[in-house]
Subunit: 172 residues, 2 copies
């Protein structure tokens, strides 16, 4: 309450909000922010489609990225999200940086894509495994379990929000 009252805003104007038509601020580099989120974030929110009802389903996953930035996940076949992407591989992964205060004031990236299973004998399986385990060393303990599989989602579209006032849309 006290915090809210300290902030002074003109009537009808959101603090720091820029008009939709304004050119981006000079210090706003969406590509650098997106790369940082892709390369540094360890966990993300996965959105999948419920395999029975099509209801959007949000769940937590550990993430890494392949050389081209595609999100990589290592998931159990006993999990709901795995059953969902097996039925319909369309998904998105939210990568959000955390920090003090309002969560919406920090950068986050939605990575839309379609997951494909990386089978253990695929030519790139070793690279995927190495890259994932380098971000998540403890996952080594179950990466070899029969019900755990690696999946990769080539990036389709990545809307970025760096704060309430700064957003960008990029295609790769």
């Amino acid at each position: 309450m006290a915090d809210a009252e300290k902030t002074v805003a003109l009537p009808g104007v959101m603090p720091d909000r820029r008009p939709e038509t304004a050119s981006p601020p000079e210090d706003f580099n969406p590509i650098a922010i997106a790369k940082q989120l892709l390369r540094g974030t360890r966990a993300g929110a996965l959105a999948t489609l419920d395999r029975n009802t099509g209801h959007p389903f949000s769940s937590l996953v550990n993430v890494a990225t392949d050389a081209d930035g595609s999100p990589l996940i290592l998931v159990s076949q006993l999990s709901t999200h795995t059953a969902n992407i097996e039925a319909d591989p369309r998904a998105s992964v939210l990568l959000a940086s955390t920090g003090k205060g309002d969560s919406l004031a920090h950068p986050r990236l939605t990575v839309l894509g379609t997951f494909a299973n990386i089978s253990a004998d695929a030519p790139d399986a070793a690279r995927v495994r190495r890259r994932f385990l380098s971000r998540h060393p403890k996952s080594r303990l179950y990466a070899g379990f029969g019900d755990f599989t690696f999946w990769r989602s080539p990036i389709l579209r990545t809307p970025l929000k760096s704060s309430r006032s700064r957003k960008a849309r990029s295609n790769t």
Copy 2:
């Protein structure tokens, strides 16, 4: 790497993983954990359906809860997720607690539901507004803007994961 090597696991057994058929540990109280996540979490990952393609879309929202635990959000009509729930109100909200180490070792709750807009003249509009602003005092600055609207998602189903080994499914 060093961390992973320190943990000792039997071959083929995930540390702390319980068999699917085991009875829950005595100190596992899924209802208390779910309430704590619902009552205390300030931001969540919203999964919606892309209004044009049906692709699952994950985005960050500030959340509060109504008296019965239903998630409440305050969103801009300029946002993608708002356009999505206007076209198809089915959604889920992931509420995750954060902490040190592996994100998947901390409790999180997926709240599935269907959002309904709370119009400013609805009988419960004042309560919804009061409850949301009490968790997010700074949102007072734009809660009155014409393009910001409150939505509530009565809970349909809430799968809870308290760690890799502990999960529960509840219906309300």
